[in-house]
Symmetry: C2
Subunit: 669 residues, 2 copies
């Protein structure tokens, strides 16, 4: 694109910034060297014209969009080779993560990538669940892309509840084969990316039957298509699942088996095994397979929630510093819409939110690595805690992000509804994460199960993990006078989590003690239990932000702004859930007006730095891919240019005029 003059209003916003946005960028990346690396990678891929579209994919037919996604995926792989040659290093898992998920990946393939599951699930599963022989045989073929794999777990009838999967793998000791079968329509695999027309192999999760017994779900490597002709293998019924709200480039598919035989060696046997005679040997621990699920959830908090929300709020904030509308004082010039208090309230909390998700995911990633290495030494102690926090963080962050993206879109009025704003695709990718990899309500209930157990242990005098230690701080039940400061805010979130968990646990036990079945009581109290998990998660997020500010090594100017954001984040969520804070925290009805004023003051204080903050997110124009959010703020010029890329504008009169419209207007239809 042509270099253009920066919109004057936007430039004058930049001039107001009190800190250097580069400092924030480095903080987010984890150091100036990391920023440099990231930019080098982004430039290498995005400045290459082969990835640029003459006609944006949304104008193509569905089949053309798939073909374009395959074409670009192959180009991307070629480009990865060029990159590793250029950098004189091998390709790393981090590199594939950056390219297949998150912002860079969605800039290259805007609506999902048909090869993604090969790298994100197929290869990691081979590595994590194959024994040494299996790894030796399969990983090389997969890593070199001689075969293209996917991961087929979810079925038409079963998603989050994987124990309910129906596909069977029945061992036949006579031939030393497993027979894969789909006994019902609902047992068809449904959703795996790349499964439709792309992959020729899959890891298939099925109920293992041997010697007449079911041994639960196990992973199997299955060839789906002929390597030469790409025709489906005998007994394999395969196709794609059709158009969706988003992710239409991922080629999600369905898969059914009609007594398909695979060799015994194709069951991944690092953990559980089936011997030649059909004897089942159980895995030493069920919890070993938790690792991958937690890994994916950790990745979602950063790669989906934090990144896409940062993208959306960048677009909306810049647009708000260009768009002028209506009047505050009659007769005066139309103000920038960022002047409106209602607009500030719609945007700035999401700047804070994108940041806290970044901090939380970094913390989660560190813990994940520690717990994983403990796991390998057989120490499972911290796994439940990690599992519990990863569940609620996945739920709360994906939900905050999706809602935030929609708020940002609506804050840009009608223009946000245009595909070229980038909001529709961004929302499509973010909201998908609310239901995949563990539906959010189920995730929250898993966390609250842990919380109730922890509460019970705390009462029994068993020491708690750092994340739940507030449960033994019984001072939280006492109420002190409220003051508008971060320490009080911080305490109030703990008070709410403490109070909610206490009341809910006591309620559950009280009803159980009347003789009702515990599971039904759990269900009847589940809307409260969801609130407990949310409160626990919000407390953790506020903690993360607060700790980050206390320990971060940045200039006083940036630290001041980060502190304002942290306070805004906390006050905003307090006022959003005011009822709970009036019930459980030091906040009294009489304190509410001053809290509202504090919120307004923080919005006002942050106002001059809003554009500088989103500049600090450092999301380049090619990734933003938005007429409303480009760095130069030439909003209207870009909207006009984007409109003229519509193929409908290629000719002055569309053929439907002659075919239908003219005969109709002339009364001949």
């Amino acid at each position: 694109m042509v270099q253009r003059k920066v919109n004057e209003d936007l430039q004058s916003e930049r001039n107001k910034g009190t800190f250097n946005p580069e400092e924030l960028t480095n903080l987010i990346d984890g150091g100036a060297d990391k920023t440099k690396e990231r930019r080098e990678l982004v430039d290498f891929f995005l400045r290459d014209p082969i990835f640029q579209d003459k006609v944006p994919p949304e104008y193509l037919s569905y089949v053309e969009r798939y073909e374009d996604a395959v074409r670009k995926s192959c180009l991307m792989m070629k480009k990865i080779n060029e990159w590793t040659e250029f950098k004189k290093t091998g390709a790393t898992v981090d590199l594939y993560q950056a390219l297949l998920g998150g912002l860079l990946g969605s800039a290259l393939l805007k609506d999902g990538m048909p090869f993604a599951l090969h790298y994100v699930m197929f290869l990691p599963t081979l590595m994590g669940q194959g024994n040494i022989e299996q790894q030796a045989y399969w990983i090389g073929r997969a890593w070199n892309c001689e075969i293209m794999g996917t991961y087929a777990q979810t079925e038409l009838g079963h998603g989050t509840f994987i124990r309910g999967l129906e596909t069977t793998a029945t061992y036949d000791p006579n031939t030393e084969e497993f027979i894969l079968h789909s006994p019902t329509l609902t047992s068809y695999k449904w959703w795996p990316g790349g499964l439709g027309q792309t992959a020729n192999y899959a890891v298939v999760v099925a109920q293992l039957y041997t010697k007449g017994d079911c041994h639960g779900i196990q992973p199997f490597i299955v060839q789906l298509r002929d390597e030469e002709t790409h025709m489906p293998m005998p007994g394999v019924k395969i196709g794609e699942i059709g158009c969706k709200l988003g992710m239409n480039g991922t080629n999600q598919g369905y898969l059914g088996f009609d007594h398909v035989r695979i060799p015994r060696e194709n069951m991944l046997m690092k953990n559980s095994k089936v011997l030649k005679d059909g004897t089942f040997v159980k895995s030493p621990s069920d919890k070993l397979t938790y690792g991958t699920m937690i890994f994916v959830r950790v990745a979602l908090v950063k790669g989906i929630a934090a990144c896409y929300l940062a993208k959306a709020v960048t677009i909306a904030t810049r647009y708000s510093a260009v768009r002028r509308q209506s009047e505050i004082v009659p007769g005066e010039p139309e103000p920038l819409i960022i002047e409106y208090k209602t607009q500030q309230y719609k945007l700035f909390p999401h700047i804070a939110s994108a940041l806290v998700m970044t901090f939380a995911s970094r913390w989660l990633w560190n813990i994940y690595n520690i717990v994983t290495s403990e796991l390998e030494q057989g120490d499972l102690e911290r796994l439940p805690e990690l599992h519990a926090i990863s569940c609620c963080l996945k739920a709360v962050c994906t939900s905050d992000a999706a809602q935030g993206i929609e708020e940002c879109r609506k804050a840009t009025g009608g223009h946000g509804y245009m595909t070229c704003s980038s909001f529709p695709l961004t929302y499509g990718l973010a909201t998908a994460a609310e239901t995949y990899e563990g539906e959010n309500t189920v995730m929250l209930l898993q966390t609250s199960r842990y919380l109730m157990k922890a509460w019970h242990q705390a009462k029994g005098g068993i020491s708690l993990t750092p994340m739940t230690s507030y449960m033994i701080d019984h001072n939280l039940a006492n109420r002190s006078p409220w003051q508008n400061n971060m320490a009080c805010l911080h305490k109030s979130f703990r008070q709410v989590a403490y109070g909610l968990i206490k009341d809910t646990t006591e309620k559950v036990y009280r009803i159980v003690s009347t003789g009702k079945q515990q599971e039904h009581v759990w269900n009847s109290c589940s809307n409260l239990l969801v609130q407990c998990a949310e409160a626990h998660c919000r407390t953790f997020l506020v903690d993360c932000f607060y700790e980050e500010i206390k320990t971060v090594n940045v200039s006083p100017a940036l630290k001041k702004v980060l502190t304002q954001l942290c306070e805004l984040y906390a006050v905003y969520h307090l006022l959003k859930k005011l009822g709970l804070f009036l019930m459980y925290s030091d906040v009294r009805v009489g304190d509410v007006p001053s809290l509202q004023e504090w919120q307004d003051k923080l919005l006002e204080d942050l106002r001059p730095n809003a554009v500088t903050l989103v500049d600090g997110f450092d999301i380049c124009d090619e990734i933003l891919n938005s007429a409303l959010g480009a760095y130069d703020g030439n909003v209207y010029e870009r909207l006009f240019e984007e409109a003229n890329r519509s193929p409908l504008n290629a000719v002055p009169v569309n053929k439907s005029f002659h075919q239908y419209l003219k005969p109709f207007l002339k009364g001949n239809i």
Copy 2:
């Protein structure tokens, strides 16, 4: 589609219903005769195979989708002629409303209709703002579809704030013509439906200049395209604006003028006039043009908010009575997901919400007709009240509906993400209404401007309208002990509105009295002012539901269920905004557990009637257009059939395998 056996689980839910769904249908329609009429119309149009798609539009290219929309629009017009011949009546405005907006329209043209604005805005504007000569000339041509019109008001740079429009119409007394001109890029018209490639005429709203003075915005009839060739007229720059989140069948366009001359007679002169010599004659009242805006907002509450929410909750509720997942008690069969309290909480409030919007829109429609006839007799007294309530109802109902649709989608897990669930298109149509026809926050602030004035009048002893009479009920400021009943609930909503408006008004006046400029104070308090308007609106909605139940003539069985829904609606919104109720109403912290239990009890009580309730919405399968929500509950069969309609599944191997994928896998790329 083939008639299929009803899913047994869904049937058993139907068997649990305690009332006859037909009774609810009649109540919603406004009588059994109205139900009959509606069904006859729906059958006549939807059972005609000419409207059925072999390949659903989402698989076509963007240009093909437009061409298909034009084709179907012409067929629809032909079908309307057949209908009027069959019924031996003329076409009525009601008929066009049913066919162009709301559920039937979106079943025929699933993503918007390029002719809609011809009927919804072009014709009504000619009727409402043309003088007798203009009506005589233009209405006939437009009604007979000799010309196809649109309504061009919004510009690239200005939406809701119409006084800021930049397009100019300058009168030239020498030739007795207006010169239409677009002085800037931001003055281009942007968004009008049908403007891109369909319409050949438009009502264009422009700033009128005559004798050197600007007289504000006025409507002009402008020919855009040649009636024979459809080529744009000289000086007319025209095109479509590109792909959007939804409404991609509406052919929204842009329009610029380069000194385009039109005869003086083309200014619509029922209200203001320009005489031959250029003298401007002002309209007797500015408020006369409010009528159309209010009309459109009234139509949105019913046609978009109530209808689309009813559609979404029908789909999600039926799906929840078919889908089995997870376990409540280990070892027992997987329960229907409607058994989960969290699922009931996600769905049932939206059943109530769709109903109350129906009642509110009916009430609003009646008032609209009364006020319009008063207006014609020069009585403007009730116009501000109607304007105020229509603004906040438009905002609150479209927002409730869009959010509700997304909640329903997410409550169906991943499958709701499929286009064939119908959720994505339904959301696209509903959320558009949050920003068009008056952006929602602006709407709420218009209402709060009225509320503050009313509060001021109440203090000055001026009598208030029925809708704001609670402002003089100073007992609302006194707090009595809470009881779980509808009277207390009803009062508590008034208390919140009363308290919020009181505190906010006092705050505004207090700050103004310190010498700050009123307009800036207004802006600084605007987040509170938004809450005032929302509280006023919610109070009105609770009132509507409560009044409906008190006066409705239905069986005791249905009345009981309606009462439960009304209570659920109120308790749900109370608990959602608990903070405000603890601040302003009789509810105390100690009352909260019993309110939560009441909510749970209501969910439980409504549970057996959930499917019967949505059956009572009487939305036929062709309109639902959803694999998840069909009457027979054959969810999985339909998902599978829909997948196989994807053109990607037409051949076993897509050509991209040979073109890109195979060379890549064989290492040749």
